[in-house]
Symmetry: D2
Amino acid sequence: MGKVKNSKDMGRLLISCPDRPGIVAAVSRFLYERGANIIHSDQHSTDPSGGVFFMRVEFQLPGLSDKEADLNTHFSALASEFNMQWRMSLASRIKRLAVFVSKQEHALLELLWRKRAGDLNADIVMVISNHPDLAGVAASEGIPFHHVPINPANKKEAEKQQIALIKDKVDRVVLARYMQIVTPYFISHYPFQIINIHHSFLPAFAGGNPYVQAYDRGVKLIGATAHYVTAELDAGPIIEQDVERVSHRYGVEDLKQIGQQIERRVLARAVIWEVEDRILVYGNKTIVFA
Amino acid sequence: MGKVKNSKDMGRLLISCPDRPGIVAAVSRFLYERGANIIHSDQHSTDPSGGVFFMRVEFQLPGLSDKEADLNTHFSALASEFNMQWRMSLASRIKRLAVFVSKQEHALLELLWRKRAGDLNADIVMVISNHPDLAGVAASEGIPFHHVPINPANKKEAEKQQIALIKDKVDRVVLARYMQIVTPYFISHYPFQIINIHHSFLPAFAGGNPYVQAYDRGVKLIGATAHYVTAELDAGPIIEQDVERVSHRYGVEDLKQIGQQIERRVLARAVIWEVEDRILVYGNKTIVFA
Amino acid sequence: MGKVKNSKDMGRLLISCPDRPGIVAAVSRFLYERGANIIHSDQHSTDPSGGVFFMRVEFQLPGLSDKEADLNTHFSALASEFNMQWRMSLASRIKRLAVFVSKQEHALLELLWRKRAGDLNADIVMVISNHPDLAGVAASEGIPFHHVPINPANKKEAEKQQIALIKDKVDRVVLARYMQIVTPYFISHYPFQIINIHHSFLPAFAGGNPYVQAYDRGVKLIGATAHYVTAELDAGPIIEQDVERVSHRYGVEDLKQIGQQIERRVLARAVIWEVEDRILVYGNKTIVFA
Amino acid sequence: MGKVKNSKDMGRLLISCPDRPGIVAAVSRFLYERGANIIHSDQHSTDPSGGVFFMRVEFQLPGLSDKEADLNTHFSALASEFNMQWRMSLASRIKRLAVFVSKQEHALLELLWRKRAGDLNADIVMVISNHPDLAGVAASEGIPFHHVPINPANKKEAEKQQIALIKDKVDRVVLARYMQIVTPYFISHYPFQIINIHHSFLPAFAGGNPYVQAYDRGVKLIGATAHYVTAELDAGPIIEQDVERVSHRYGVEDLKQIGQQIERRVLARAVIWEVEDRILVYGNKTIVFA
C-alpha cells in the first residue's frame, strides 16, 4: 500500500527468472543472513513448470545505504545462479519525474496534489509542454516549466531538446495528457520508463478522440488506461484501468468531464505504483504488486 | 424498476419523433383526457433544436384491454401530427422468448432463475440449440427443447427450421451464449428483436475467443456486453455492459469464470429491460429508460 | 448532465405535490402556452395512488429573466390548484457558496478544481475555517478567507460571526471536511442548504474517526457520504455515496488515503447536483434527478 | 485464483505467528528440502516490529498424501520454534458442506450452480431447512434434504438434531439465507466454520429487515456481507462485501431484487475462498489471500 512510511533503511528487490524450486528459499535466506527483515513479499509464477517467476520483496536493513554496493555484489552471484533479471532500489532514493503536458491541467494537477498529500513519494523536477498554458500551474508549486513548441517540421529537434532537458535529471517520464505522439527515438532513452494516460478503456478506442469514438459507439461505460509507452501507439503494457457508467443522456462533453475524473485516478495509481517499484513488465503485460 | 407489479390495466407507450415544443403537453393531455394515470414518464432529447425526442410513458387505465384498439386509433392521429414512431404495449401481454444456446448453461440458467424469482416477467416458450447438451436444463423447468444441428453445409436449412419453430410463437430471441453467427436472413425476421450476450467489453475483443484476447492484451478489467444483433458481427446497438477487475494472477480459465458471472447479470438486465419495453433504438445506439 | 451549457434563458422548475392524474399535463401545457421549450423533464412518484409526486423541468424561454416575475405569479395559481411545493430558478443566476474547512485541503481543492474545469457552475465566494492553515489555498484562487477560531467556550459567538459573514451573500454552505459540529442554531439559517461530506458509508460509522472504526471492524469496502446537515449528527438526507474496495493489507493511514479520493468525488457530485437544482428533499431522503 | 486445477499432490499451509526475521526463509527452506515446489505464496504482517505474521503457501509435492503425516510431524518442530498457529490441508481432500436454508432459493441455487460450473470445489453433502419448500431444489441436484422445523419452544432440540445430522459428515456450514439465529451452543461445534450471508453492507443495518432499513434511511448503495458466525449477531469477522447503486426510484421490493444478486455473488466468493483455505481469522477480522 502506498502511504509514505518511514523509508529509511528500506530496500526493494524486484526479480524475474525462470521458475524452479528453491527461489523463495534462496532469496529469503540471503536477506535473513544479512540481517534484513522482510516487510512484505509478493510472488507470482506464470506456470510452476517451465514458467516465469516474479518476486518483489520489501525489506528493512539497518545501515542499508552503506551496505548497498556490497549487497548488490553478493546478490549478483545468487542472481546468476537462478538466471535472474533483477534490480534493487532504496526507498530513500526518491524517484525524479518529468511530467509532459499540453493544454489540459487535470492530470498534472492530480499529480501535484497527490504529491502534496503525501500519496506520491516522488520529486516532480520539471514540467515540459508544447504549449505555454500550464506554466502558471507549475509555478504555483515551484516547479520549473519548459516550453518546447512542437510542429511536424521540428519534431526531431524538439525531442532532442526534451532529452537534453531531462537527461541524468529524470528517472521516469509521465505523459499527463500530452497530446503528441512520442517517437521511437525518444522512447529508446526511457524504455518502459514512460507512462501515458490514454482516455479510453484500451484496446477500445485507441488513437485520437476516444470520447467521440465512445459516444458514437454508444458504450455504457467509459474508461481510462495508464500504460507504458512503446513504439506502437497506445499498445504498450497496461498498468491500470478503470471505468464509470454513462448513459444515453451523456453528450461528448459530459463523457469528457466524467472521463477526466477517471484519468486522474488511473494515472495517479500508476505513477504511485511505479515510483514504489511495484510494477514488473513481462512481454507486453504487467505484473503489479499493489 | 423491474420487480413485477400488478400489471393489470397497465400500458406502456414508446415514442420517438423530431423534437419540438409541445410533445409532452400533447401526450400527457391525451392520456389525461382518456382517464389514464401516468405512473412513470421518461424523456430524452438529443438536442432541443432539431434533435430527436424519445419518450416512455407507463400509465394505468381501467379496462385498458377493452379500450386498446380505440386508444391506438386516436393516438395515431396525434402521432402523425408530430411525425412520431411509436408503439403501445400492454403489460398484461407477457412477451414470449426463445432462448438460443449451445453447450454452456450459465446464461440460460440465469434467465430461468430470474424468471422463477419473478424478476423476468416473460414466457420462455422454447430453448433451441445446435447441441443436445442442455436438453435436461430446459426439461427441468418444463420448457420445450429443440435440437437443430448446424454445420457449414446446412446453415441456411437450419435457420429456416429455427424460423419455422419460432414464427408467430415468439416475440423476442435471446442468444444466451449461442456459439453460431446468425445470418442476415435470420435477423431480417426479428429486426432489433434479437439480443446477444458477447463475452467482452465491446468494441474491445469482438469476434472469437474474447477471453484469450483479453488475456493476451493484459487488460485489468474484463467485461460483457448485451446488444441487439445486426448484420455486422458484434456491432449492433449496445444495451448494457459491465466489468470486473482482474489481475496478472488470472489465467484464461479464471477470466472465463469471472466473465461468466458478468455475462449472467448483463444479459439478465438487458432481457428484463427489453420485455418491460424500456429500450429504444436510435441509429446504432440505445436509449434505455431503466 | 452537468457540463455547463449555454444557460441563458434556461429555467428550472422543481415541484412536489400529492400525486393525482393531470399534473404533467398541466405543467407541460403551462410552459408550452408561454413559449417555453422543455429541454429535460424528470418525474417520480412514491405511489400513484395517494403518494407524493416530484418533478424537475429544465426549459428554455427567450427573455426569461424579464418574464420571471410574471411566470412566478401565474404558476402560483396552478401550484395552489395542485397543492404544490415548488420553486423556479434561473440557470443564469449562479449560486454562491461558502466552503467551510478545517485543516485538510483535499475536499476544498477538489471543489476549486471542478470550478476551474467548468464542472461546478457556482461562485465560491468565501472560505471559512476554524484554523488558519488553508488561507493560502483560498488565496491562490483569489477567494476571501475568514479565520473564525472555535473552542467549546466561544462556539455560539463563533457561529454568530460565521452567519454575519455569509448572511445575504451565500446561497449554500458546503462543509468540506469541516471538523466541527454545527449547531441547530446555525442550521436553522440554512435549512437543507448545508451539505456535509462524511468520511464513511453512512449509516455505518457515524460520528468521529470513521476510518479507525472501519479498520477495527474489518470492512472490505470503505466509503463516503454527502448529505444535508440536520440537527441530528450524520443523520440528514443522503445525497450521494460511493465506496472502494480495501483489504487486510490496508492500515488506517491507507484507508484515509483511499477514503480522501472517495470523499472528493462524492462531495463534488453532490455540490454540482445542488447548484443545478437537481435535488429534492422528501422526509429524510432525497430525490436526485441526475 | 479459484478455477479448479489439477489438485493432486497439492498442499496448502496456513500460518500465523508473531512476526520476526527469518520466518519466510525457514518455511521456504523446509518445503524446498522436502522436494516441494511453491506454487503460490502470500504473506502479510500487521507490523514487522511486534506484529502478527500471516502466510499461505500453496505447494506441489509428489506423493503428498503418503507423506502427509511425516510432513506434519516435522513441521510441528519448526512451528513451535516460531510459536506458530498453523494447519496443512490437502487440496485433494475436498471439503464437505452443509447448506442451511429457509424459504428463499437464490443463495442455495447460486452455490449449486457454481459447484456444477466447477467454480466451487466442494461437496454439498446435505441441505437442512426449517421449512420444506426447497426440498425439490436439493433433490434436483441429488442432494439429501433434511427438514428440521424450528419454533421458539423446540430451538434447542432442533439444533441438537441438526448437529446429529452434520457431526463427522460436514466440514463447514453455510447459512444461505437461513432465517434463524443460531445459538452459541451450535456455533461452539463449528467455530469460525460457519459462514453467513447478511443482506446488508454491515455494520449498517444489522438485524432484521435490512432492505426496509436501507429504504427508510435512503442510502444510495445497497450491499451484502458474508461473515463468520459468532455469538454476537451479525458481528463476526467479515469475509467479503459488495454493493450496487440504487436510487430514489427503487422501492423495497426492488432493493430485495437487486440485493439478491449481490448476496449470490458475495456468498459464492466467500465459500469458494473458504474451501480453498484462503481465509485466516485474526481477532474479529479476516486475512483473505484471494
